[in-house]
Symmetry: C2
Subunit: 576 residues, 2 copies
């Protein structure tokens, strides 16, 4: 019997709601999106009492499923104005599941200005006032929470950006070492948590236990097999562990779609300086760590610990998207500077993709020159300090473009595009344009088939077949986001049919269910339909399912191509 | 034979396009909206080459029709993202008409950073580079233009706000005295002009002549009769000339819907200090001018010239909406401070309604205290100077609310609500919610029937009948906005059926047409349909035809009422 915690910030109450007996597994994005879609007014102000912040581990979280500890965070997004599920690693998802908690729903608004911590234990949960946390960065916050609640905790926190309710604010989750390095990054959900006056959710692990599987033996067998499959696949078994996510830098740059200087070009001259290979060599030479797992039970360990020249920890990763956003997109080829920016982002509690893209827009506006790393760091310090300029930048690329009158602003539904130029990988362009989430590479990662040759090959430069590709990937990804499995297992699942069977076998053995591939696909469709319906009620139309004009008009220099998937084809993505 | 000037900023060319022989009169909002709707991509970035700025006098402008010199300015609005027609007095509309120019369409974007002036004479028009105008306020700009082109000109200019492409930037038009006191205020159209690198349109009056009426005698007879009707009606003949637009302050305050402190309340304790009565007395005592006409041929003369304690000119008016926005909405009860803000707004070239509402939101955010007039002036100076804080504020109430995490932001379609609380005048609430323009009192001024008893009486506090009222007013207003007649003639037209007949008589005598009331009503519907269709293509839905939640949830203290016109009724406004 799993339960939801209903936390009402207006009444300052916590109530347990036992989930009805589950004939089908539910969790993660399925739970966050279905609660947001059914309980939140689609037209409400995202910072109002009507919005709800929902935190839900995937259904396999805590079971021991390999790479199965992901946590979904959902709400109406302050950044996009639509529904949002933001997916994060770290150990909080596992910790919640082991306390029997399927989700936490934070509702209402407090009557006062106090900052609160939700303290979750095996015995229950309570709201505690802690105004000494006001204004603290995520690292200081988690240090203080450990000092107060002990080492055996997982933390879900916001930094100053969330307290300031900035549109780019994210939500941090502590990792294996207790550091706030993992982030539900996109869509400004930290602002929702900040509006509710909730600085942290502290989950005491004591008393938690692995949820009992209906057929433990069958579960363990399937889990072992899944781990084998992951280790056998070249991406999840070799490439990601060895070079981390940033192995993509050279690949994407070589393929001519590495967005450079605010998407003006598709290749960056300094890619070698910031590549995954250089990153690995530097970390090893300095005594940092490669092959770092962001949560217990991760068998891929794509993350790393970046250290400075003295071997002192600076930040995790940084990951591919972060290195791109603060690097190539801003014409910055210095991994140490990028790592400092990543650490600043994590302290502030702000999305690295949105911030990098925003600084690139600020560079296009002439605030600082392209390539000015120290200038970019100063801009981040403005965000940290909440200056007026910092509030513009912390509000993301769209608002920054508005404030400085910039026309070339790479956003869809108000959210900045990630690290792949859609003019030379048109499948990901379809995902950017049509995803319920705004521009989001994780919503349907067509780079796999467009560029990497995983799960098939679809010519990245032609418009043909991209809608079908993105549609299939969006459905599959949405289903996967319910499981609690890391998206990276999808590389294996795309190539090896047995992998999905094994995921379903783990699921059925754990829950005693009998779900199959059709159910799984239908689940993905059903969640997407709910999200899409929410967005329609929020006022989204086909006009919101478009890339900015300049992608359709300015040829990408590396290929001479524009994004030319016809609009009427884009409008068929959700025909399923 | 009237003509359009097609000004292409990319090619730096000006071409004349002769209008096909007109079987029906066209002009003003009809011309701007039909050109924008048919020629501008609804989804384009408002600052891109795809947007077009259209300037068009009403069809009676220059004919000698009383109060008939209004000019329409249209484009896709940077502020709302929808279509925009912003209506302005001053003499430019008449000057254009007398040169046979039905409209100017400014297209494309320049390839360079030069600032240009469009110099329009009886012999043609040309683009002139004048970078010495860069950064100048509207007053300095028009002073320099007069020094260069002589006194006998009308000017259409932008201030620094337009050059900075701020979302609140407006477009100034010179008045009878050559001062840039009249403004196409709403929707950020100054940013469109600024993006096109066009600082000013200078219209030389020399060589212009009153357009020949087909039946001059009949025209003159109808015009005389129209002037009589206007002078006989209490609003246009007595109240507006005597007390100006700000005669509304006491009326609206007494009726309990004078939005106070960012729409927290409906009555302002200091209304007597800023009323039209006090304004009149002060102006007369100081030797200023009451009864100032904003353009040639205006028989109402509702404007005034505000002077300081030494009798020195400060600014026009200020008008009711400005005094409310910088006054009651910000808890400021000092007409001199408000006049300084109005002058600053006019220098900067920014909408007074949007700026006042924005400062009130900034006050709610705690940037300065409510009531802090000197603080409010300092905030305006930040806008003038283009500081980061100024860029936030100059981007309007919505962006300011986003940057500072404020929930109570009184905007519809991104545009700030004017000076009537919709909870206690529900007809104007329907107009705010549903107008194609965003929150705009002039789009369907139901205050007439809700409060003033002009054109009938509809209980302001009940939801009943408001949709029908707003619909009829929006249709009639839209038709009127084609004529070039000042909206204030509508007070007379609502009460006196003969007034519309007289307008149609002037039209038919001038153009040799035979249009009737049905044609006129159908014209209003047709323009609204075009605008609505543009907005739908731009991505607007029923969700955009709503007031912010707080108007439906927080009772207005003066009446205890919320805005409760049912959403499904709002969705029928355009059923015609």
């Amino acid at each position: 019997m799993r339960k939801l915690l209903r936390v009402n910030m207006g009444e300052l109450s916590v109530k347990e709601q036992v989930l009805p007996s589950e004939k089908e597994p539910t969790g993660g994005r399925h739970l966050t999106s279905s609660i947001v879609a059914s309980e939140v007014s689609a037209t409400c102000h995202p910072l109002s009492a009507h919005n709800k912040l929902v935190v839900a581990p995937g259904w396999l979280a805590g079971t021991g499923a390999p790479c199965g500890g992901r946590l979904s965070v959902g709400a109406k997004s302050p950044l996009t104005g639509g529904i949002k599920e933001s997916n994060v690693g770290g150990n909080a998802g596992i910790a919640l599941s082991r306390l029997g908690i399927a989700g936490i729903v934070v509702e209402g608004l407090p009557q006062d200005d106090n900052l609160r911590v939700l303290h979750v234990t095996a015995d229950g949960a309570e709201l505690v006032v802690d105004n000494e946390l006001k204004g603290l960065g995520n690292y200081d916050t988690t240090d203080r929470l450990r000092a107060e609640f002990g080492e055996d905790i997982s933390c879900i926190t916001i930094g100053p950006a969330g307290e300031m309710r900035l549109l780019g604010a994210n939500i941090a989750v502590t990792d294996e070492e207790g550091r706030p390095t993992r982030h539900a990054g996109r869509g400004g959900l930290g602002a929702v948590m900040g509006a509710k006056g909730l600085k942290a959710i502290v989950i005491e692990k004591e008393g938690g236990q692995r949820p009992e599987s209906v057929d433990r033996e069958a579960f363990n067998k399937a889990a072992r097999r899944f781990a084998e499959l992951l280790s056998e696949h070249v991406v999840t078994g070799t490439n990601l562990p060895t070079w981390g996510t940033n192995l993509l830098a050279k690949i994407i740059n070589d393929a001519g779609l590495y967005p450079t200087r605010n998407f003006q070009e598709g290749q960056f001259e300094l890619t070698d300086s910031i590549s995954g290979e250089t990153q690995r060599e530097t970390i090893i030479a300095r005594g940092g760590k490669v092959g770092h797992a962001c949560h217990q039970g991760c068998t891929i360990a794509c993350s790393r610990l970046w250290v400075d020249e003295n071997g002192e920890f600076v930040t995790k990763g940084p990951e591919y998207e972060t290195i791109w956003a603060h690097g190539a997109d801003c014409d910055i080829g210095d991994l140490d500077a990028i790592a400092r920016m990543d650490r600043l982002d994590d302290e502030i509690g702000i999305d690295t993709i949105e911030m990098g893209a925003t600084i690139a827009v600020a560079m296009e506006a002439g605030l600082i020159e392209f390539g000015d790393a120290e200038g970019a760091i100063r801009l981040l310090e403005e965000v940290r300090d909440g200056t007026p300029l910092g509030r513009i930048l912390g509000s993301g690329a769209k608002v920054t473009g508005q404030a400085f009158g910039v026309r070339r602003v790479p956003v869809v539904k108000g959210q900045a595009l990630p690290a792949y130029d859609p003019r030379a990988a048109k499948g990901i362009g379809v995902t950017y344009a049509t995803s319920t989430m705004g521009a989001d590479h994780t919503a349907g990662y067509a780079i796999a088939q467009n560029i990497l040759g995983v799960g098939g090959n679809v010519d990245p430069l032609k418009p043909d077949g991209q809608v079908e590709l993105s549609r299939a990937l969006q459905i599959a990804t949405t289903a996967l986001d319910g499981t609690g499995l890391c998206l990276f297992v999808a590389f294996c699942m795309l190539d090896v049919p047995e992998a999905l069977d094994t995921v379903l076998a783990m699921t059925n053995a754990h829950f005693g269910t009998n779900v199959d591939e059709d159910w799984y696909t239908e689940l993905g469709k059903e969640i997407l339909r709910q999200e899409r319906d929410f967005n329609t009620r929020a006022g989204f139309t086909a006009a919101d399912d478009r890339l900015p004009d300049f992608f359709e008009e300015e040829p990408l220099p590396s290929h001479g191509t524009v994004f030319d998937v016809p609009h009427d084809e884009l409008d068929t993505v959700f025909d399923f």
